[in-house]
C-alpha cells in the first residue's frame, strides 16, 4: 500500500450517507492515482450522457502517490467530473496544500454524489467526516468563506471552496483552495454549486508510506537538483512568473489579439512578466514541496484597482489583456483578483468577454444589452465591470456566464467563439505555433494548452527546438506530451517539473515510492491509457471527430494580419489524420479494439 492510503471516501449529499471502500490496487497500478484513478472511478460509475449539473453527476477529488511527499512539486490533486461548459470530461488540477492534506487524512480519493437539500460544507478530520450546514456561508466570496470555515473547523485546515460564481453556476466556475489556487477549467465549480456544496475542509495527520525510502530519496533529490539547475525551473519562473511569456509569444507574432483577430500586440510589454515584476509583484510563492515558486503574490496600488491577491498567470494576463485589446496591467491584476475571489476561470472569462466585444463592435450586442457600457476592445473599465457582473450573473454578465460558445450562438454567430469543445482556447495563437493547435483540437477536456504543452519544444527550446510554423512530426510530439502529462497529473506532480526532469525521473520516483516497477515506457503507457479512457467517455457523451476541430477563423478564414507571423494559418486539419494514426484510432478518431486491448482497456 506504499504511496497509497488504501481507502476511498464516498459522501452522498442526497442521503447524507458517508462510507469508505478499499482502493482497487490493480486500478492504482494501471491508472496511478489523481487524474488517472479519479477518471477510472468516475467513468466506471457515471453515464456519459449525464446532465453535468444534475444530482446524477458525481465528482471525484483525488491526490496522487506523490501528493504530500517531498517529490518535487508533489502537492497536486485532480477533480474529475463531466463539465457543464463542455459537456465532456472535465479534469481540473490544482496545487497548494489541499491535496496533501486529503492524502494525510487517509484518502486516495473522495467521491461526491447527489445533491444536498440546502447549502452544506464537508469537514474531514482524518477518520471523522461531517456534513455541516452552510447557509450562513452561501453568497460569500472565497476569502471570507475560507476564513469562516477555518474558524469553525481548525485554523490549520485546508479549505477548497466555491465563490458566488460556483453557487450561481457560471459555466466556467472554479474550485479555489487556500484562497488563491484554482482547479480552474471546465466548470468544476459550477458542478459543486449544483450540489449545494460550498466547501470541503480537510485536516490530516497520517503518514504516506514509502516502499524503498533510500531509493525514493535519491530519485527525489536527483529530480530537485535537475529542476534547480535548469535555467527555467531554477531561476526564470521564480523571477518573472509565467507572465514572462507575453513578450516572447508577441515577438514571434503568436499572441492572440482582440478575440484572435490578430497575433501581434504592440503594447504587449505593458502586461508582461517584466512589468509585473517591477510594479505589482510582492513576492514569488510556491505550492507544497515546490522548488520553482512560479506563483505571484501581487498588489495594486492605484486606488481605482487597489488590492492584494495572487496572479495573474500568463493565460489570465493575456485573456483579460491583449485578447480584449487591453494594456493596463493594474486593471488586469485587479480583475484576476476578482476572478479568484469569486471563483471563476479567467481564461474562459476573458476570452468570452473578447467574443462579446467583437459582437458589440459588429453591432450585435447593443448598449441596451450592456446597460450602457461601451464594450469596445480596449475599454478597461468595461473589462473590470464585466468581471464582477459575470461572477455575480448580473446584466449581460448572465449571458457571459455561459461561455463564448453559447453567447455567440445566442446572437447567431457561433463562428465568433474561439473555443474547442465549447471551451475557450488559451494564449498561444495556433496559426503561428502549429503543434499547440493540434493539442487544442484533440485535448479531451476542450481547448487547453496544459495537457500537451508543445510550446516547450516549439517556442521555448526545452528538450528540443522545433520550427513553430512547421507541421512535420508535430502529431508525434503532441501525443508524447499528452501521454507524459497524463502520467504526471496521475502521479500528483506538477508539469513544470518537466523543466528539469524527464519521464525517467518521474518513473524512478514512482517506482521507489509505490514499489511497483515502472519503466519510462510503462509510465508513458499509463498516460496513454488515461488519455484513451477519457476519449472513450467523450465518445459515450456523443462527441465525434467534428469536435476535434479549431474554429474556421484559424484554419481557413483569417490568417494572422500583422507582425512576424503575418499570413500564417493553422494546419490542424492536415495534421489530425497522422495524430489519429499514431494514437491507434480510426479515421473518425475512435480508438481501435487492438489499441484498447494493448492498453488493457477492454
Amino acid at each position: 500500500m506504499n504511496g497509497y492510503t488504501g481507502t476511498i471516501l464516498r459522501v452522498n449529499l442526497t442521503t447524507g450517507a458517508i462510507s469508505r471502500q478499499a482502493t482497487d490496487m490493480k486500478d492504482a497500478a494501471l491508472y496511478i492515482g489523481a487524474r488517472g484513478l479519479a477518471d477510472k472511478i468516475y467513468i466506471d460509475e457515471v453515464d456519459p450522457k449525464v446532465d453535468p449539473l444534475s444530482p446524477d453527476n458525481t465528482m471525484v477529488f483525488a491526490p496522487g502517490p506523490f501528493t504530500g511527499t517531498f517529490a518535487p512539486s508533489g502537492g497536486r490533486y485532480h477533480v474529475v467530473t463531466k463539465g457543464p461548459l463542455t459537456d465532456c470530461i472535465a479534469g481540473a488540477n490544482s496545487g497548494g496544500s489541499w491535496g496533501p492534506e486529503l492524502h494525510y487524512a487517509g484518502y486516495d480519493a473522495l467521491i461526491i454524489e447527489g445533491k444536498a437539500s440546502e447549502p452544506v460544507y464537508l469537514w474531514i478530520k482524518d477518520d471523522v467526516v461531517e456534513i455541516r450546514k452552510a447557509s450562513h456561508l452561501w453568497g460569500k466570496w472565497v476569502p471570507e468563506t475560507t476564513d469562516l470555515v477555518r474558524g469553525e473547523t481548525d485554523v490549520d485546515a485546508k479549505v477548497a471552496c466555491i465563490g458566488p460564481a460556483g453557487e450561481k453556476q457560471v459555466l466556467f466556475a472554479a474550485i479555489m483552495n487556500e484562497m488563491h489556487r484554482a482547479a480552474g477549467r471546465g466548470g468544476v465549480g459550477a458542478v459543486m454549486g449544483s450540489k449545494n456544496l460550498k466547501a470541503i475542509a480537510v485536516s490530516g495527520t497520517k503518514a504516506i508510506s514509502v516502499a524503498r525510502p533510500k531509493e525514493f530519496k535519491e530519485a527525489v533529490l536527483a529530480g530537485r537538483k535537475g529542476i534547480k539547475e535548469h535555467p527555467v525551473g531554477g531561476a526564470g519562473l521564480r523571477a518573472y512568473g509565467t507572465d514572462v511569456l507575453v513578450n516572447i509569444l508577441n515577438q514571434i507574432g503568436s499572441l492572440p489579439v482582440n478575440n484572435f483577430q490578430d497575433g501581434y500586440f504592440p503594447a504587449a510589454d505593458k502586461v508582461g512578466g517584466e512589468t509585473l515584476a517591477a510594479n505589482q509583484l510582492v513576492r514569488p510563492k510556491g505550492c507544497f514541496s515546490c522548488v520553482i515558486s512560479c506563483g505571484r503574490v501581487s498588489k495594486v496600488k492605484d486606488p481605482k484597482y487597489a488590492g492584494e491577491g495572487e496572479g495573474p498567470e500568463y493565460e489570465a494576463a493575456w485573456s483579460m489583456g491583449p485578447d480584449c485589446g487591453i494594456d493596463n496591467l493594474d486593471a488586469v491584476v485587479h480583475s484576476n483578483h476578482l476572478c479568484n475571489e469569486m471563483g471563476m476561470d479567467p481564461i474562459s472569462f476573458g476570452s468570452t468577454l473578447a467574443c462579446a466585444m467583437e459582437l458589440f463592435e459588429a453591432g450585435l450586442i447593443t448598449l441596451k444589452d450592456t446597460d450602457g457600457v461601451d464594450l469596445s476592445f480596449g475599454n478597461v473599465d468595461a473589462m473590470v465591470e464585466m468581471t464582477r457582473k459575470t461572477g455575480l450573473r448580473e446584466g449581460l454578465g448572465n449571458k457571459l456566464a455561459l461561455g463564448s460558445y453559447r453567447l455567440a450562438n445566442s446572437y447567431g454567430h457561433p463562428e465568433l467563439s474561439m473555443t474547442v469543445k465549447k471551451q475557450e482556447m488559451p494564449a498561444y495563437d495556433p496559426r503561428g505555433v502549429q503543434g499547440i493547435g493540434l493539442e487544442y483540437a484533440t485535448c479531451n477536456r476542450g481547448g487547453c494548452h496544459v495537457k500537451g504543452y508543445t510550446i516547450a519544444v516549439e517556442v521555448l527550446g526545452c528538450g528540443a527546438k522545433l520550427d513553430p510554423h512547421a507541421t512535420a512530426d508535430k502529431p508525434y510530439w503532441v501525443k508524447l506530451f499528452q501521454d507524459l502529462t497524463a502520467a504526471i497529473d496521475a502521479s500528483g506532480g506538477c508539469i513544470f517539473g518537466t523543466f528539469g526532469m524527464g519521464g525517467d525521473n518521474y518513473s524512478a520516483m514512482l517506482s521507489a515510492l509505490t514499489g511497483v516497477t515502472y519503466s519510462t515506457e510503462d509510465y508513458l503507457k499509463a498516460g496513454e491509457r488515461i488519455w484513451n479512457l477519457e476519449k472513450l467517455f467523450n465518445i459515450g457523451a456523443g462527441l465525434t471527430a467534428k469536435d476535434d476541430e479549431l474554429p474556421e477563423r484559424l484554419t481557413k478564414l483569417l490568417p494572422i494580419k500583422s507582425g512576424p507571423s503575418k499570413g500564417e494559418i493553422s494546419h490542424v486539419p492536415e495534421m489530425l489524420p497522422e495524430y489519429y494514426k499514431l494514437r491507434g484510432w480510426d479515421v473518425n478518431g475512435v480508438p481501435t479494439k487492438e489499441r484498447l486491448q494493448e492498453l488493457q482497456l477492454v
Binding site: P231, G241, I252, E313, V450, K465, I495
Partner: protein
C-alpha cells in the same frame, strides 16, 4: 537595426530596446558589438566562446535563429532582433 531585450537581459543592458547603427552583417558580429558596449556580463550571457549561450533565445524578425543560420544568421539594417533568456510558463 532594432535590438529588444527581455527579462533579466534588461538588467544587463539597462534598457528595453535600442537602435544599432554600426555595421553588423551577421548575428555573431552584432553580439560581439553589443558585448563590447554592455560589458562582459552581457557578453557571457549571450555567448559561450564562439557559440550562442545555450540558455538564451534569439529571434530575428520573429524567427528563432536556430531555424535560420544560428550565430551566422545574416542581418539587415531594418531587422528586429529580440534577445530572451530561456523562459517558460503555462
Amino acid at each position: 537595426m532594432t535590438i529588444r531585450y527581455f527579462a533579466d537581459i534588461r538588467e544587463l543592458t539597462g534598457c528595453k530596446e535600442e537602435t544599432w547603427t554600426k555595421a553588423a552583417p551577421d548575428l555573431r558580429l552584432l553580439l560581439e558589438g553589443l558585448a563590447a558596449q554592455h560589458g562582459s556580463a552581457f557578453g557571457k550571457r549571450v555567448l559561450e566562446g564562439n557559440q550562442l549561450n545555450s540558455t538564451i533565445i534569439i529571434f530575428i524578425n520573429g524567427r528563432d535563429v536556430v531555424h535560420l543560420q544560428g550565430i551566422g544568421s545574416a542581418l539587415k539594417n531594418d531587422d528586429v532582433v529580440a534577445i530572451f533568456p530561456m523562459v517558460a510558463g503555462g
